[in-house]
């Protein structure tokens, strides 16, 4: 199948008018896939929040692997129990369910955020001391 611009335009229009996030057309050995992020990313004033990743937005394809620990509160993110202490976890650490990963402080209350899964910390996505919103991604974890 030759790439036909009109066909492609039709596919895009079809996607646009539907609730679908992805359309794939297969014909012989050719394949066209049109997809979109179901939740448009929301612009927030610069510097207002640490992360603009949206909780319910589907991750883009390259981020698809692994799972994320998201913030259950709006508040301030801390990697350690005090400024002098070591961070609860570092990249590469193995973690167990129930293990404390970080603190999100809201209204002077230190809420310890525990892991729900066993796995390895692949990435720490928020800087220490930065504000986080409800649903912001805090850690990327490779589950085991």
């Amino acid at each position: 199948m030759k790439l036909d611009l009109d066909q492609l335009r039709d596919l895009i229009r079809l996607l646009d008018e539907s609730n679908l996030t992805e359309i794939e057309v297969e014909h012989d050995d050719d394949r066209i896939r049109v997809r979109r992020d179901p939740v448009a990313s929301q612009s927030v004033a610069p510097g207002a929040v640490a992360s603009s990743t949206h909780p319910s937005g589907a991750p883009a394809a390259e981020e698809d692997e692994g799972s994320y620990v998201t913030s259950p509160f709006v508040g301030t993110f801390y990697r350690a129990s005090s400024p002098e202490s070591d961070a609860f976890v570092e990249v590469g650490d193995s973690i167990a369910p129930g293990q404390v990963l970080c603190i999100v402080e809201a209204m002077k209350l230190m809420n310890e955020i525990e892991s729900e899964v066993a796995g390895t910390i692949v990435d720490v996505l928020v800087e220490n001391g930065k504000p986080v919103e409800y649903g912001d991604r805090l850690f990327r974890i490779e589950t085991t």
Binding site: V49, H54, A106, V132, Y134
Partner: protein, 454 residues
């Protein structure tokens, strides 16, 4: 003056507050639930913070999340809008403890007026004419005794009720005995409080309310009345200012009485005193709402006052700068609440707004919380926009509203616009002859005269 205001609300009222803040040069913080990520208030505020999931008890009603959002954004004041936490004294107290200025009355003022039985007693002690009613009833025998002393028909009301819920009209003691336990358990389930009391039932009252504003220097102003008799199940649908049912004398007398009474009790910020007007022309106090009301724009248009700006100035400690004499209304204003609901069955109609064209032109104001392509989530109030008109006379205002409604196009969801058109076209409405029963009677009339469908 504070610099950054967090708006603890959503929808049209959040936008209403954002607009005035912007005009006053204040920065704004919107808080939103996950489902409101693309909502208009989220988009138009200077900053937006996601505070929780769609369930309002975990977002818009969740005090710690809202305070934390104020902390991380450095907001120094909070406007609660109406509904949600606007009448919650604990929220106002928590704001104060966290050095956030709560834009509204003091917590003790909210408590004083929040309980309906004690509010009525307070109003009476302040010299306001109050509706005849009883203390809380103890049990069914006590209820019968109190109801008989008051005289049937009576209205059985839940002390914790509001928004027109938790009320029963009772004609006889047999009816009362039959319903008492049910009413008590309903009240417990709905409001977490099974305290009940009686009020004298007025058959065909009008609902009239007076707008007040108070500052931190003891000044109280009364900004005229609003006519809110067009209701469905005690939910207001269409409001106007001034009311055709009040003479200048009645209006001025009641304004003076309220000014003196509230001046004595003390009150800060915007508030509304609700009254029933019976067919003998007597106004009786019903309750006081310590917050901005949905229908505040009709007062703003006829009085030439920005009530949200006044609330902000008062919270900042500035004295009200309104004329000493009671303000008098200029022209006539009408507001139609546009709800996402079926105009006949009143079933909610959430969904995506495929196209949106709101009315414009002279004398038309739109306070809306939606946009074309936006979504009306099923989780919240169905109010999506308020269409408000201002004209020299009531007849001109009605014509203007009819014109404005005819221009308004909202696609993809159903709205109550056809209902508004029926109300405005009705001769009794045009003549100003109506009570809070108007809409029930209109529906009944419609059923009688509707063409039979096969």
């Amino acid at each position: 003056m504070f610099e950054k205001v967090l708006i603890a609300n959503r929808g049209e009222i959040a936008l209403r507050v954002i607009r005035t803040c912007r005009e006053l040069g204040l920065r704004t913080v919107a808080v939103h639930s996950e489902i409101d990520t693309d909502a208009l208030h989220t988009r138009l505020a200077d900053e937006a913070i996601c505070i929780g999931p769609a369930d309002p008890t975990r977002s818009y009603l969740h005090i710690p999340a809202i305070i934390a959002a104020a902390e991380i954004t450095g907001a120094d004041a909070v406007h609660p809008g109406y509904g949600f936490l606007s009448e919650n004294p604990e929220f106002a107290e928590t704001c104060a403890q966290c050095s956030l200025e709560f834009i509204g009355p003091l917590p003790e003022q909210m408590r004083r007026w929040g309980d309906k039985v004690s509010a009525r007693a307070l109003a009476k002690s302040l010299g306001l004419p109050t509706i005849e009613g009883t203390e809380l009833v103890e049990d069914v025998d006590d209820a019968v005794k109190k109801a008989e002393a008051l005289g049937f028909p009576v209205l059985l009301k839940a002390s914790g009720g509001g928004g027109g819920r938790g009320m029963h009209v009772l004609e006889s003691k047999e009816e009362l005995r039959a319903i008492f336990e049910t009413a008590r358990s309903e009240s417990r389930a709905a409001f977490g409080n099974d305290a009940l009391y009686f009020e004298k039932f007025i058959e065909r009252p009008r609902h009239i309310e007076f707008q007040i504003l108070g500052d931190k220097h003891g000044n109280i102003h009364v900004l005229g009345e609003r006519e809110c008799s067009i209701q469905r199940r005690h939910q207001k649908i269409l409001e106007e200012a001034p009311s055709v049912a009040l003479s200048d004398e009645m209006r001025n007398d009641m304004s003076a009485t309220i000014q003196r009474a509230i001046g004595e009790a003390g009150y800060i910020s915007a508030g509304t005193l609700e009254f029933l007007l019976d067919d003998r022309g007597e106004l009786t106090f019903l309750e006081m709402n310590p917050r901005i009301q949905v229908e505040h724009p009709v007062t703003e248009l006829v009085m030439g006052v920005d009530l949200i700006a006044e609330q902000i100035r008062v919270a900042d400690g500035q004295p009200l700068e309104l004329p000493e004499r009671p303000l008098s209304a200029r022209g006539h204003a009408i507001e139609c609440r546009i709800n996402a609901e079926d105009p006949d069955t009143f079933a909610p109609s959430p969904g995506t707004i495929t196209e949106l064209h709101m009315a414009g032109g002279t004398g038309v104001r739109v306070d809306s919380g939606v946009y074309g392509g936006g979504r009306v989530p099923p989780n919240y109030d169905p109010l999506i926009a308020k269409l408000i008109v201002h004209a020299p006379t009531r007849a001109q205002a009605i014509a203007k509203m009819q014109r404005a409604l005819s221009e308004t196009l909202i696609g993809g969801i159903r709205t109550n616009i056809p209902l508004h058109q029926r109300i405005l076209a009705h001769p009794a409405f045009a003549e100003g002859r109506f009570s809070t029963r108007f809409l029930d009677e209109l529906q009944a009339e419609r059923l009688l005269t509707a063409p039979v469908r096969h």
